[in-house]
């Protein structure tokens, strides 16, 4: 059974294996054991901390095959984007340049460097093994985080954002980067993203153009890349779009990938999940797939289960599912349909 749980230091080697396979651009998963060690340590401290409002915490989850102990996915949430350093995005803006006399009415698309999304909670570090793409396990790996948010709202902001990796080609080059960032850094996209992972994104963001960029001046390839999703990030994008995240307002300053955002309370898995008492027994036939979490903190667990659940009634979990979640009869779980 695949179980989502908080990462532990013992997972380091496995996590690095996942990080090495994640696409360039997922800078929250650097293939660097020291950075990953810090990441896991910060997560352990965050799960352990008593928190009454969102601050510097970052939560990092892994998806584990409970039989083999092998990790097949991971994901994270940063409680507050830009908590210790500025969080940069490009905001899509439209200026109208109008001349009544000449009968010219131009809508000019402009990208403005901004810190608008500072303080929002940030979904990060999404990775699943390719075999799991388009399965319920991908949903678990992503939305298990949202169930965690639902159970611990005091730990998160009123809005959630996520930066989706943008388009880059097989050679690792990003047309958006080549047209924009490269001018200011004189290095290729992969190198810049590698530095972002090792140093910090802010470090580089501070070298980015601070005046707005007039989009019509960018080459066509760069304009087309704006808001485009990297093929390997499509799964993450699709899941969150179904959750009610909105696109179009912000893009990533490096690769032009879309930055999604949503009101926390309006996210589907948060708004529609239910807290239900558990019975242990034989789940009925003809049920459907649910994401089920135990709502805990350091012992947080979430799984996918086939359930025949009637709203308003307790839910019947198999013994294996109950054990994987670490729950017994009478304890409540949070569940939402896949």
């Amino acid at each position: 059974m695949l179980v989502m749980r908080p990462a532990q230091m013992a997972d380091l080697a496995e996590v690095q294996r996942l990080a090495a396979d994640s696409p360039v651009g997922v800078t929250s998963l650097p293939d660097d054991s020291e950075r990953l060690r810090e990441k896991i340590a910060a997560s352990e401290a965050s799960f352990a901390a008593e928190v009454s409002f969102n601050g510097e915490e970052s939560y990092f989850f892994v998806l584990e095959d409970s039989e083999s102990g092998r990790l097949v996915g991971c994901s994270g949430i940063v409680a507050s984007a830009g908590y210790s350093e500025p969080f940069y995005s490009f905001r899509n803006e439209t200026f109208v340049h109008n001349s009544r006399e000449l009968k010219i009415h131009n809508k000019i698309h402009v990208l403005s460097l901004c810190h608008d999304l500072t303080g929002n909670s940030l979904l990060t570090s999404f990775y699943v093994e390719r075999a799991l793409v388009d399965t319920a396990w991908s949903e678990l790996n992503s939305r298990g985080r949202l169930l965690f948010v639902a159970s611990h709202p005091e730990r998160f902001a009123d809005a959630v954002v996520v930066e989706i990796v943008g388009h880059s080609d097989e050679a690792g080059d990003s047309p958006f980067w080549d047209a924009v960032g490269r001018n200011f850094f004189d290095m290729n996209y992969a190198e810049a993203e590698r530095l972002c992972g090792l140093k910090s994104r802010t470090f580089l963001a501070e070298l980015m153009p601070h005046y707005p960029i007039y989009v019509p001046l960018l080459p066509d390839e760069a304009q087309e890349a704006m808001g485009q999703v990297h093929p390997r990030a499509q799964i993450s994008f699709d899941i969150l779009m179904r959750e009610g995240f909105e696109t179009d307002h912000y893009i990533d300053i490096f690769d032009g990938g879309p930055t999604l955002h949503a009101r926390t309370s309006g996210i589907r898995s948060i708004a529609q999940s239910r807290v239900v008492p558990v019975r242990i027994g034989e789940p009925g036939k003809g049920g459907r797939q649910y994401l089920v979490s135990n709502g805990q903190l350091q012992d947080y667990r979430a799984i996918v289960a086939d359930l025949d659940w009637v709203p308003g009634k307790p839910v019947t979990l198999s013994l294996a599912a109950a054990e994987a979640l670490g729950v017994g009869e009478g304890v409540s779980v949070r569940l939402v349909a896949v």
Binding site: H97, S99, L102, N183, F184, K199, L207, P209, Y211, I213
Partner: protein, 338 residues
Amino acid sequence: MIVRPVRSADLPALLELARSTGAGLTTLPANEERLAHRVGWAEKTFRGDAERADADYLFVLENDEGQVVGISAVAGAVGLREPWYNYRVGLTVSASQELNIHRQIPTLFLANDLTGNSELCSLFLHADYRTGLNGRLLSKARFLFIAEFRELFGDKVIAEMRGMSDANGRSPFWESLGRHFFKMEFSTADYLTGVGNKAFIAELMPKFPLYTCFLSEDARSVIGRVHPDTEPALAMLKAEGFSYQGYVDIFDAGPAIEAQTDKIRAVHDSQNLILAIGTPGDDASAFLIHNRKREDCRITAAPARMAAGSLVVDALTAKRLQLNAGDQVRAVALSARG
């Protein structure tokens, strides 16, 4: 040849000239109504009935047969009635010692910095007369006039030099920048500014600074460069003390050069002398000579010799100036001494 103020009778000749200029001379549009209006203003200006903000000193070059073969003008002040735009070519540095990055990105700032200065403009000499002293006379006559009536002009004189365009009149700078905002041909935009329709610039131009890295390589390479046909004019003004201080035209990026009025060689070195008629002799050199009049201003270039507070010229020169021996003149060597 003499330079004198324009008169309404010159209108047909001016229209002829305007039609032969092609694109690039914004202050001499081939539009009869506009030209008539302009000549009217110039007459008013020379009479002393125009404020400096509106003053338009439009001169013509006339041969001994009374035929108009060229024009030149000085505007009392630019930008006091309608905004005067230039780009200031500034610099943005993107630097990080730690990352070993140092990028210098020329950046264009839309500016009204040259507001209030006097402007040399509308220089055009018929192709058949681009010989001998004609070009220098037509251009530099303005300096003697400025020296004589210094209070009518600003503390700085500027000149916008025609920028680079190809044989078809296509400006690479316009193609890369202006076209996106104006959605019209360079020649149309050029014409519209020439006929005094400047409001549309403010309405349609980008207001934020422009990183030149977002322009085409062709466009970047012509910033601050003059059209090859304008090289001689540029060299002549530089010899008079004009220099490029980083301001360029917003349409074709040709340089706007400038000089402190009192430091322009032909202004600074000019002197009041008594006219003597005789034989200038073998050691005579070319002088620019002004009859010190405003409405009846006549300026010519001729071989002359200075001798004890007087300027010796031949009888024909005196006749061209409509002066007699003993009258006062303002004169300066036509060119700086090598």
